[in-house]
Symmetry: C2
Subunit: 201 residues, 2 copies
Protein backbone atom coordinates (compact mmCIF):
# COMPACT_ATOMS: atom_id res chain seq x y z
CA UNK A 1 0.00 0.00 0.00
CA UNK A 2 1.52 3.25 -1.17
CA UNK A 3 -0.34 5.41 1.37
CA UNK A 4 -1.55 4.50 4.83
CA UNK A 5 -5.34 4.29 4.84
CA UNK A 6 -5.94 1.85 7.66
CA UNK A 7 -4.35 0.99 11.00
CA UNK A 8 -1.14 -1.12 10.96
CA UNK A 9 -3.03 -4.04 12.55
CA UNK A 10 -5.23 -4.35 9.46
CA UNK A 11 -2.29 -4.11 7.06
CA UNK A 12 -0.47 -6.80 9.03
CA UNK A 13 -3.55 -9.05 8.96
CA UNK A 14 -3.72 -8.69 5.16
CA UNK A 15 0.00 -9.39 4.78
CA UNK A 16 -0.23 -12.59 6.83
CA UNK A 17 -3.44 -13.81 5.17
CA UNK A 18 -1.68 -13.42 1.79
CA UNK A 19 0.75 -16.15 2.94
CA UNK A 20 -2.04 -18.70 3.41
CA UNK A 21 -2.12 -21.17 0.49
CA UNK A 22 -5.15 -20.42 -1.71
CA UNK A 23 -5.14 -16.70 -0.89
CA UNK A 24 -3.14 -14.15 -2.89
CA UNK A 25 -2.69 -10.45 -2.05
CA UNK A 26 -6.07 -9.52 -3.57
CA UNK A 27 -8.10 -12.29 -1.96
CA UNK A 28 -6.24 -11.63 1.32
CA UNK A 29 -7.76 -8.14 1.36
CA UNK A 30 -11.23 -9.53 0.71
CA UNK A 31 -10.70 -12.20 3.36
CA UNK A 32 -9.51 -9.61 5.90
CA UNK A 33 -12.50 -7.37 5.27
CA UNK A 34 -14.90 -10.31 5.49
CA UNK A 35 -13.32 -11.42 8.79
CA UNK A 36 -13.54 -7.88 10.17
CA UNK A 37 -17.20 -7.59 9.19
CA UNK A 38 -18.02 -11.00 10.66
CA UNK A 39 -16.24 -10.40 13.95
CA UNK A 40 -18.61 -12.41 16.12
CA UNK A 41 -19.52 -15.15 13.65
CA UNK A 42 -16.13 -15.85 12.06
CA UNK A 43 -13.13 -13.77 13.20
CA UNK A 44 -13.67 -14.61 16.88
CA UNK A 45 -14.23 -18.37 16.47
CA UNK A 46 -11.40 -18.68 13.94
CA UNK A 47 -8.98 -16.85 16.25
CA UNK A 48 -9.91 -19.25 19.06
CA UNK A 49 -9.54 -22.29 16.76
CA UNK A 50 -6.13 -21.11 15.59
CA UNK A 51 -5.03 -20.45 19.16
CA UNK A 52 -6.17 -23.97 20.09
CA UNK A 53 -4.24 -25.46 17.18
CA UNK A 54 -1.20 -23.39 18.15
CA UNK A 55 -1.32 -24.68 21.73
CA UNK A 56 -2.20 -28.28 21.10
CA UNK A 57 -0.88 -29.46 17.74
CA UNK A 58 2.11 -31.76 17.97
CA UNK A 59 3.81 -34.46 15.91
CA UNK A 60 2.89 -38.04 16.80
CA UNK A 61 5.99 -39.77 18.15
CA UNK A 62 4.76 -43.11 16.82
CA UNK A 63 3.79 -42.36 13.22
CA UNK A 64 4.85 -38.76 12.40
CA UNK A 65 1.26 -37.54 11.87
CA UNK A 66 0.23 -34.11 13.20
CA UNK A 67 -2.62 -34.01 15.69
CA UNK A 68 -3.67 -32.46 18.98
CA UNK A 69 -2.66 -35.58 20.93
CA UNK A 70 0.49 -37.72 21.00
CA UNK A 71 0.04 -40.57 20.12
CA UNK A 72 -2.38 -39.30 17.49
CA UNK A 73 -6.07 -40.11 16.98
CA UNK A 74 -5.22 -42.80 14.44
CA UNK A 75 -2.48 -44.49 16.52
CA UNK A 76 -4.80 -44.66 19.57
CA UNK A 77 -7.92 -45.80 17.68
CA UNK A 78 -8.64 -49.33 19.04
CA UNK A 79 -10.76 -50.24 16.01
CA UNK A 80 -7.95 -49.98 13.48
CA UNK A 81 -6.10 -52.91 11.97
CA UNK A 82 -2.66 -53.17 13.62
CA UNK A 83 -1.33 -55.53 10.99
CA UNK A 84 -1.30 -53.00 8.15
CA UNK A 85 0.73 -49.77 7.96
CA UNK A 86 0.23 -47.32 5.11
CA UNK A 87 3.43 -45.35 4.46
CA UNK A 88 2.95 -41.82 3.12
CA UNK A 89 5.26 -38.93 2.33
CA UNK A 90 3.20 -36.22 3.96
CA UNK A 91 0.29 -35.68 6.36
CA UNK A 92 -1.72 -34.28 3.43
CA UNK A 93 -1.49 -37.73 1.79
CA UNK A 94 -2.69 -39.37 5.01
CA UNK A 95 -5.69 -37.00 5.04
CA UNK A 96 -6.40 -37.71 1.37
CA UNK A 97 -6.33 -41.50 1.95
CA UNK A 98 -8.50 -41.23 5.06
CA UNK A 99 -11.10 -39.32 3.08
CA UNK A 100 -11.49 -42.32 0.76
CA UNK A 101 -12.64 -44.43 3.74
CA UNK A 102 -11.17 -47.43 1.86
CA UNK A 103 -8.83 -48.65 4.62
CA UNK A 104 -8.91 -48.88 8.37
CA UNK A 105 -5.18 -49.28 8.93
CA UNK A 106 -2.37 -47.47 10.73
CA UNK A 107 -0.05 -44.98 9.01
CA UNK A 108 3.56 -43.90 8.95
CA UNK A 109 4.45 -40.41 7.72
CA UNK A 110 7.92 -40.21 6.18
CA UNK A 111 8.08 -36.43 6.09
CA UNK A 112 9.31 -36.30 2.49
CA UNK A 113 11.24 -38.41 -0.01
CA UNK A 114 14.87 -39.27 -0.51
CA UNK A 115 16.43 -36.56 -2.65
CA UNK A 116 20.24 -36.60 -2.75
CA UNK A 117 20.35 -33.44 -4.88
CA UNK A 118 18.43 -31.54 -2.18
CA UNK A 119 20.53 -33.13 0.56
CA UNK A 120 17.66 -35.28 1.88
CA UNK A 121 19.04 -38.63 3.04
CA UNK A 122 17.46 -41.54 4.97
CA UNK A 123 18.22 -39.93 8.35
CA UNK A 124 16.18 -36.87 7.38
CA UNK A 125 13.04 -38.99 6.99
CA UNK A 126 11.10 -41.16 9.46
CA UNK A 127 12.47 -44.38 7.98
CA UNK A 128 14.37 -45.72 11.01
CA UNK A 129 11.22 -45.43 13.16
CA UNK A 130 9.27 -47.31 10.49
CA UNK A 131 11.73 -50.18 10.42
CA UNK A 132 11.63 -50.27 14.23
CA UNK A 133 7.81 -50.45 14.20
CA UNK A 134 7.91 -53.38 11.79
CA UNK A 135 10.74 -55.12 13.66
CA UNK A 136 8.63 -55.15 16.82
CA UNK A 137 6.35 -57.64 15.06
CA UNK A 138 2.62 -57.81 14.44
CA UNK A 139 2.74 -56.00 11.11
CA UNK A 140 1.96 -58.26 8.16
CA UNK A 141 1.61 -55.69 5.36
CA UNK A 142 3.20 -52.38 4.55
CA UNK A 143 1.47 -50.35 1.83
CA UNK A 144 3.88 -47.89 0.22
CA UNK A 145 1.48 -45.09 -0.69
CA UNK A 146 4.16 -42.71 -1.93
CA UNK A 147 3.82 -40.35 -4.89
CA UNK A 148 4.36 -41.85 -8.36
CA UNK A 149 7.40 -39.65 -8.85
CA UNK A 150 11.04 -40.66 -9.26
CA UNK A 151 11.78 -39.58 -5.68
CA UNK A 152 8.75 -41.45 -4.34
CA UNK A 153 9.70 -44.66 -6.11
CA UNK A 154 13.37 -44.35 -5.08
CA UNK A 155 12.23 -43.96 -1.49
CA UNK A 156 9.94 -47.00 -1.84
CA UNK A 157 12.84 -49.12 -3.06
CA UNK A 158 15.09 -47.94 -0.24
CA UNK A 159 12.45 -48.78 2.39
CA UNK A 160 11.86 -52.22 0.85
CA UNK A 161 15.59 -52.94 1.10
CA UNK A 162 15.62 -51.89 4.76
CA UNK A 163 12.74 -54.27 5.54
CA UNK A 164 14.48 -57.27 3.96
CA UNK A 165 14.34 -60.28 6.27
CA UNK A 166 11.59 -58.89 8.54
CA UNK A 167 8.97 -61.06 6.85
CA UNK A 168 6.54 -58.26 6.06
CA UNK A 169 4.63 -58.16 2.78
CA UNK A 170 5.32 -54.87 1.00
CA UNK A 171 2.72 -53.62 -1.46
CA UNK A 172 2.29 -50.45 -3.44
CA UNK A 173 -0.72 -48.61 -4.83
CA UNK A 174 -2.16 -49.96 -8.07
CA UNK A 175 -1.35 -48.13 -11.27
CA UNK A 176 -4.43 -46.00 -11.13
CA UNK A 177 -2.30 -43.15 -9.85
CA UNK A 178 -1.22 -41.05 -12.85
CA UNK A 179 2.54 -41.17 -13.47
CA UNK A 180 4.12 -38.03 -12.02
CA UNK A 181 0.93 -37.24 -10.15
CA UNK A 182 0.66 -36.33 -6.49
CA UNK A 183 -1.80 -38.17 -4.23
CA UNK A 184 -3.19 -35.10 -2.61
CA UNK A 185 -4.66 -33.84 -5.90
CA UNK A 186 -6.55 -37.03 -6.81
CA UNK A 187 -10.25 -37.64 -6.33
CA UNK A 188 -11.39 -40.10 -3.69
CA UNK A 189 -12.62 -42.66 -6.27
CA UNK A 190 -9.24 -42.98 -7.98
CA UNK A 191 -7.41 -43.24 -4.67
CA UNK A 192 -9.91 -45.79 -3.42
CA UNK A 193 -9.53 -47.95 -6.54
CA UNK A 194 -5.73 -47.69 -6.37
CA UNK A 195 -5.76 -48.90 -2.77
CA UNK A 196 -8.02 -51.86 -3.49
CA UNK A 197 -6.05 -53.00 -6.54
CA UNK A 198 -2.65 -52.69 -4.81
CA UNK A 199 0.02 -55.07 -6.08
CA UNK A 200 3.06 -56.84 -4.58
CA UNK A 201 6.17 -54.63 -4.62
CA UNK B 1 -15.35 -36.31 7.41
CA UNK B 2 -16.93 -39.74 7.59
CA UNK B 3 -14.48 -41.07 10.18
CA UNK B 4 -12.55 -39.21 12.85
CA UNK B 5 -8.87 -39.18 11.94
CA UNK B 6 -7.69 -36.03 13.71
CA UNK B 7 -8.50 -34.16 16.91
CA UNK B 8 -11.69 -32.05 16.97
CA UNK B 9 -9.62 -28.84 17.15
CA UNK B 10 -8.16 -29.56 13.70
CA UNK B 11 -11.56 -30.40 12.21
CA UNK B 12 -12.97 -27.17 13.64
CA UNK B 13 -10.07 -25.16 12.22
CA UNK B 14 -10.74 -26.64 8.76
CA UNK B 15 -14.49 -25.95 9.04
CA UNK B 16 -13.91 -22.30 9.94
CA UNK B 17 -11.20 -21.74 7.32
CA UNK B 18 -13.67 -23.05 4.70
CA UNK B 19 -15.87 -20.02 5.49
CA UNK B 20 -13.13 -17.55 4.53
CA UNK B 21 -13.80 -16.06 1.06
CA UNK B 22 -11.33 -17.54 -1.42
CA UNK B 23 -11.03 -20.84 0.45
CA UNK B 24 -13.35 -23.80 -0.19
CA UNK B 25 -13.48 -27.08 1.77
CA UNK B 26 -10.51 -28.53 -0.12
CA UNK B 27 -8.26 -25.48 0.09
CA UNK B 28 -9.28 -25.07 3.74
CA UNK B 29 -7.67 -28.46 4.47
CA UNK B 30 -4.50 -27.43 2.66
CA UNK B 31 -4.50 -24.08 4.45
CA UNK B 32 -4.99 -25.75 7.85
CA UNK B 33 -2.15 -28.17 7.26
CA UNK B 34 0.14 -25.39 6.03
CA UNK B 35 -0.68 -23.29 9.12
CA UNK B 36 -0.04 -26.28 11.41
CA UNK B 37 3.30 -26.98 9.76
CA UNK B 38 4.32 -23.31 9.92
CA UNK B 39 3.36 -22.85 13.56
CA UNK B 40 6.09 -20.37 14.43
CA UNK B 41 6.33 -18.53 11.12
CA UNK B 42 2.63 -18.20 10.21
CA UNK B 43 0.05 -19.74 12.56
CA UNK B 44 1.38 -17.86 15.60
CA UNK B 45 1.71 -14.41 13.98
CA UNK B 46 -1.63 -14.77 12.18
CA UNK B 47 -3.39 -15.74 15.43
CA UNK B 48 -1.95 -12.64 17.10
CA UNK B 49 -2.93 -10.42 14.14
CA UNK B 50 -6.47 -11.77 14.18
CA UNK B 51 -6.72 -11.30 17.93
CA UNK B 52 -5.52 -7.71 17.50
CA UNK B 53 -8.13 -7.08 14.81
CA UNK B 54 -10.78 -8.66 17.00
CA UNK B 55 -9.88 -6.38 19.92
CA UNK B 56 -9.32 -3.16 18.05
CA UNK B 57 -11.42 -2.99 14.91
CA UNK B 58 -14.38 -0.64 15.13
CA UNK B 59 -16.59 1.37 12.80
CA UNK B 60 -15.62 5.03 12.36
CA UNK B 61 -18.40 7.18 13.82
CA UNK B 62 -17.62 9.94 11.32
CA UNK B 63 -17.47 8.12 7.97
CA UNK B 64 -18.56 4.48 8.52
CA UNK B 65 -15.14 3.05 7.56
CA UNK B 66 -13.70 0.14 9.57
CA UNK B 67 -10.37 0.69 11.25
CA UNK B 68 -8.52 0.15 14.52
CA UNK B 69 -9.19 3.71 15.64
CA UNK B 70 -12.33 5.88 15.79
CA UNK B 71 -12.20 8.33 14.04
CA UNK B 72 -10.39 6.27 11.42
CA UNK B 73 -6.94 6.76 9.85
CA UNK B 74 -8.46 8.62 6.90
CA UNK B 75 -10.68 10.94 8.97
CA UNK B 76 -7.75 11.91 11.22
CA UNK B 77 -5.18 12.34 8.42
CA UNK B 78 -4.31 16.09 8.48
CA UNK B 79 -2.97 16.00 4.92
CA UNK B 80 -6.28 15.10 3.29
CA UNK B 81 -8.54 17.52 1.45
CA UNK B 82 -11.50 18.37 3.70
CA UNK B 83 -13.50 19.88 0.85
CA UNK B 84 -14.08 16.62 -1.03
CA UNK B 85 -15.98 13.56 0.21
CA UNK B 86 -16.06 10.36 -1.83
CA UNK B 87 -19.24 8.40 -1.12
CA UNK B 88 -18.94 4.60 -1.44
CA UNK B 89 -21.28 1.68 -0.78
CA UNK B 90 -18.79 -0.50 1.06
CA UNK B 91 -15.39 -0.40 2.77
CA UNK B 92 -14.06 -2.67 0.00
CA UNK B 93 -14.78 0.15 -2.48
CA UNK B 94 -12.93 2.64 -0.26
CA UNK B 95 -9.93 0.28 -0.21
CA UNK B 96 -10.09 -0.14 -4.00
CA UNK B 97 -10.18 3.65 -4.55
CA UNK B 98 -7.34 4.23 -2.08
CA UNK B 99 -5.19 1.74 -3.95
CA UNK B 100 -5.45 3.90 -7.07
CA UNK B 101 -3.74 6.75 -5.21
CA UNK B 102 -5.70 9.11 -7.48
CA UNK B 103 -7.40 11.15 -4.76
CA UNK B 104 -6.46 12.51 -1.35
CA UNK B 105 -9.98 13.17 -0.10
CA UNK B 106 -12.24 12.06 2.75
CA UNK B 107 -14.80 9.25 2.42
CA UNK B 108 -18.29 8.33 3.52
CA UNK B 109 -19.31 4.65 3.59
CA UNK B 110 -23.04 4.13 3.03
CA UNK B 111 -23.06 0.49 4.10
CA UNK B 112 -25.10 -0.64 1.08
CA UNK B 113 -27.61 0.72 -1.42
CA UNK B 114 -31.30 1.51 -1.30
CA UNK B 115 -33.21 -1.65 -2.16
CA UNK B 116 -36.94 -1.50 -1.36
CA UNK B 117 -37.43 -5.14 -2.40
CA UNK B 118 -34.88 -6.22 0.22
CA UNK B 119 -36.35 -3.83 2.78
CA UNK B 120 -33.33 -1.50 2.72
CA UNK B 121 -34.51 2.10 3.14
CA UNK B 122 -32.65 5.39 3.72
CA UNK B 123 -32.54 4.85 7.50
CA UNK B 124 -30.68 1.57 7.03
CA UNK B 125 -27.80 3.39 5.33
CA UNK B 126 -25.40 6.11 6.53
CA UNK B 127 -27.21 8.81 4.55
CA UNK B 128 -28.41 11.04 7.40
CA UNK B 129 -24.83 11.29 8.75
CA UNK B 130 -23.61 12.21 5.26
CA UNK B 131 -26.14 15.05 4.93
CA UNK B 132 -25.16 16.25 8.43
CA UNK B 133 -21.46 16.28 7.46
CA UNK B 134 -22.22 18.37 4.38
CA UNK B 135 -24.61 20.67 6.28
CA UNK B 136 -21.82 21.55 8.72
CA UNK B 137 -20.11 23.33 5.81
CA UNK B 138 -16.63 23.20 4.34
CA UNK B 139 -17.43 20.50 1.78
CA UNK B 140 -17.45 21.75 -1.80
CA UNK B 141 -17.65 18.48 -3.73
CA UNK B 142 -19.26 15.12 -3.14
CA UNK B 143 -18.13 12.33 -5.48
CA UNK B 144 -20.75 9.59 -5.68
CA UNK B 145 -18.50 6.56 -6.28
CA UNK B 146 -21.31 4.01 -6.10
CA UNK B 147 -21.59 0.90 -8.24
CA UNK B 148 -22.95 1.32 -11.78
CA UNK B 149 -25.95 -0.83 -10.87
CA UNK B 150 -29.63 0.14 -10.71
CA UNK B 151 -29.49 0.19 -6.89
CA UNK B 152 -26.30 2.25 -6.90
CA UNK B 153 -27.75 4.84 -9.27
CA UNK B 154 -31.07 4.96 -7.37
CA UNK B 155 -29.11 5.61 -4.20
CA UNK B 156 -27.09 8.33 -5.94
CA UNK B 157 -30.27 10.12 -7.03
CA UNK B 158 -31.75 9.88 -3.55
CA UNK B 159 -28.63 11.36 -1.97
CA UNK B 160 -28.52 14.17 -4.53
CA UNK B 161 -32.13 15.06 -3.65
CA UNK B 162 -31.28 15.14 0.06
CA UNK B 163 -28.38 17.54 -0.57
CA UNK B 164 -30.52 20.00 -2.51
CA UNK B 165 -29.98 23.57 -1.27
CA UNK B 166 -26.76 22.81 0.61
CA UNK B 167 -24.67 24.29 -2.19
CA UNK B 168 -22.38 21.31 -2.69
CA UNK B 169 -21.27 20.17 -6.14
CA UNK B 170 -22.24 16.54 -6.68
CA UNK B 171 -20.23 14.52 -9.20
CA UNK B 172 -20.14 10.88 -10.19
CA UNK B 173 -17.46 8.63 -11.64
CA UNK B 174 -16.85 8.91 -15.37
CA UNK B 175 -18.34 6.26 -17.58
CA UNK B 176 -15.22 4.20 -17.58
CA UNK B 177 -16.87 1.89 -15.09
CA UNK B 178 -18.53 -0.95 -17.02
CA UNK B 179 -22.33 -0.89 -16.79
CA UNK B 180 -23.44 -3.38 -14.15
CA UNK B 181 -19.87 -3.70 -12.89
CA UNK B 182 -18.74 -3.52 -9.29
CA UNK B 183 -15.90 -1.19 -8.29
CA UNK B 184 -14.05 -3.70 -6.20
CA UNK B 185 -13.32 -5.91 -9.23
CA UNK B 186 -11.81 -3.18 -11.43
CA UNK B 187 -8.13 -2.58 -12.02
CA UNK B 188 -6.48 0.51 -10.54
CA UNK B 189 -5.97 2.15 -13.94
CA UNK B 190 -9.66 2.09 -14.89
CA UNK B 191 -10.70 3.35 -11.47
CA UNK B 192 -8.07 6.07 -11.63
CA UNK B 193 -9.24 7.28 -15.04
CA UNK B 194 -12.90 7.17 -13.97
CA UNK B 195 -12.09 9.36 -10.97
CA UNK B 196 -10.14 11.92 -13.01
CA UNK B 197 -12.87 12.19 -15.71
CA UNK B 198 -15.74 12.48 -13.24
CA UNK B 199 -18.74 14.46 -14.51
CA UNK B 200 -21.43 16.68 -12.95
CA UNK B 201 -24.36 14.68 -11.61
ZN1 LIG C 1 0.28 -41.47 15.21
ZN1 LIG D 1 -13.58 7.78 9.27
Amino acid sequence: MSKRFAGPEIERLIQLLAKVPGLGPRSARRAALHLIKKKEQLLGPLTVAMGDALDKVRICSTCGNVDTTDPCTICTDPRRDDTTIIVVEDVSDLWALERTGAMNARYHVLGGTLSPLDGVGPDDLNIRSLVDRVAKGGVSELILAVNATVEGQTTAHYITDQLDGLGVKVTRLAHGVPVGGELDYLDEGTLSAALKARTAF
